[in-house]
């Protein structure tokens, strides 16, 4: 008898995700928990959850956690990391944010944390809309994509262009790692975990700001089945937001 898979130790016992059926948030949190277990970080981690669906991280992840005001997760994480350093501690600090949080309202805090080379990790769930409020146009909504506030599709006259977050973070001198991954099939889930692990390890090595953008599904607001949502990511979104590593200071 061999256990191939069991619920990660860093997931709270008897916790149930409150996400919609088929939402990739659950997969992302599971991967984060697995990496925390593998790197033995549970006892020294402080996670920063943000506003939006991503806030529910703290309901399931069994580590110390603080909720940040909308968009400010990287600033809050900066404070935590620096304060622990000032008290002679080295703690592991990461943020878990949505694309609206990281790249719209919080773009200033995110970009400046990367520019400062703040030794934290940011995980950004990119589902191309504001999920919790019912699917409005966000900073990453693709051109032509229909949302409740772009009902005839995103167009450049009214809405302008979306942001390619991982590429922007890669341009910051202080960032150590920036990758975009997806979760639409097993191969990509395995790769996503690998990149999250690398980002976490870079923080452990003190290399600076590490970042993973995760292309995720939002079946409810996309009005697609979980399966078709994954198909949309595979066939459409990963063409617009190419998967890959945009910066890796250890492999330059």
């Amino acid at each position: 008898m061999q256990t191939i898979f069991s619920t990660p130790k860093s997931i709270k016992e008897n916790s149930t995700f409150t996400f919609c059926p088929g939402c990739d948030h659950g997969v992302a949190i599971k991967l984060v928990a697995q990496v925390i277990d593998e790197l033995n970080l549970q006892e020294e981690t402080i996670a920063v959850a943000s506003s939006g669906c991503s806030v529910f991280l703290y309901d399931s992840l069994d580590v110390d956690c603080i909720e940040s005001p909308h968009g400010r997760a990287c600033a809050v994480a900066t404070g935590i990391k620096r304060a622990h350093k000032a008290q002679g501690n080295n703690k592991f600090v990461f943020t878990y944010q949505g694309d609206g949080d990281f790249a719209s309202i919080g773009l200033g805090e995110s970009l400046h944390s990367a520019l400062r080379g703040e030794n934290i990790t940011a995980i950004c769930i990119n589902n191309t809309n504001y999920g919790m409020t019912g699917g409005q146009l966000g900073p990453t909504t693709a051109m032509g994509q229909i949302t409740t506030t772009s009902q005839s599709g995103r167009n450049k006259e009214y809405h302008g262009f979306p942001i390619k977050t991982a590429e922007h973070i890669a341009l910051c001198e202080g960032s150590s790692f920036s990758a975009r991954v997806a979760l639409y099939d097993i191969k990509n889930i395995i790769n996503a975990k690998k990149q999250i692990k690398k980002a976490f390890e870079y923080q452990q090595k003190g290399l600076g700001f590490s970042f993973v953008e995760i292309l995720s599904s939002c079946p409810t607001n996309w009005k697609l089945s979980p399966k078709d949502s994954h198909k949309k990511i595979q066939e459409e979104l990963s063409k617009i937001y190419p998967l890959g590593i945009f910066k890796d200071v250890e492999n330059e």
Partner: protein, 70 residues
């Protein structure tokens, strides 16, 4: 006999596991879950499960709590 454990309270009937199972051993049950849909069920009469754990990897709700190989 390799097998998986599904937590009926956690399953939200997204059926991603149904699609991913290479042996087609997971299907809709006749039990209605919390979302009002039929939850997933593991049916392996012929001991075909290879414990590849792909179902556990895709499950967004960690409803597949264990994958055992034997």
């Amino acid at each position: 006999m390799s097998h998986i454990k599904i937590d009926n309270n956690k399953c939200k009937s997204c059926y991603l596991c149904v699609d991913v199972c290479p042996k087609k051993l997971i299907k809709k049950s006749e039990t209605i879950g919390k979302t009002g849909e039929y939850i997933a069920q593991f049916c392996d009469k012929n001991n075909e499960c290879i414990a590849c754990a792909q179902c556990a990897m895709v499950c967004p709700d960690i409803a597949i709590t264990e994958v055992i190989k034997s």
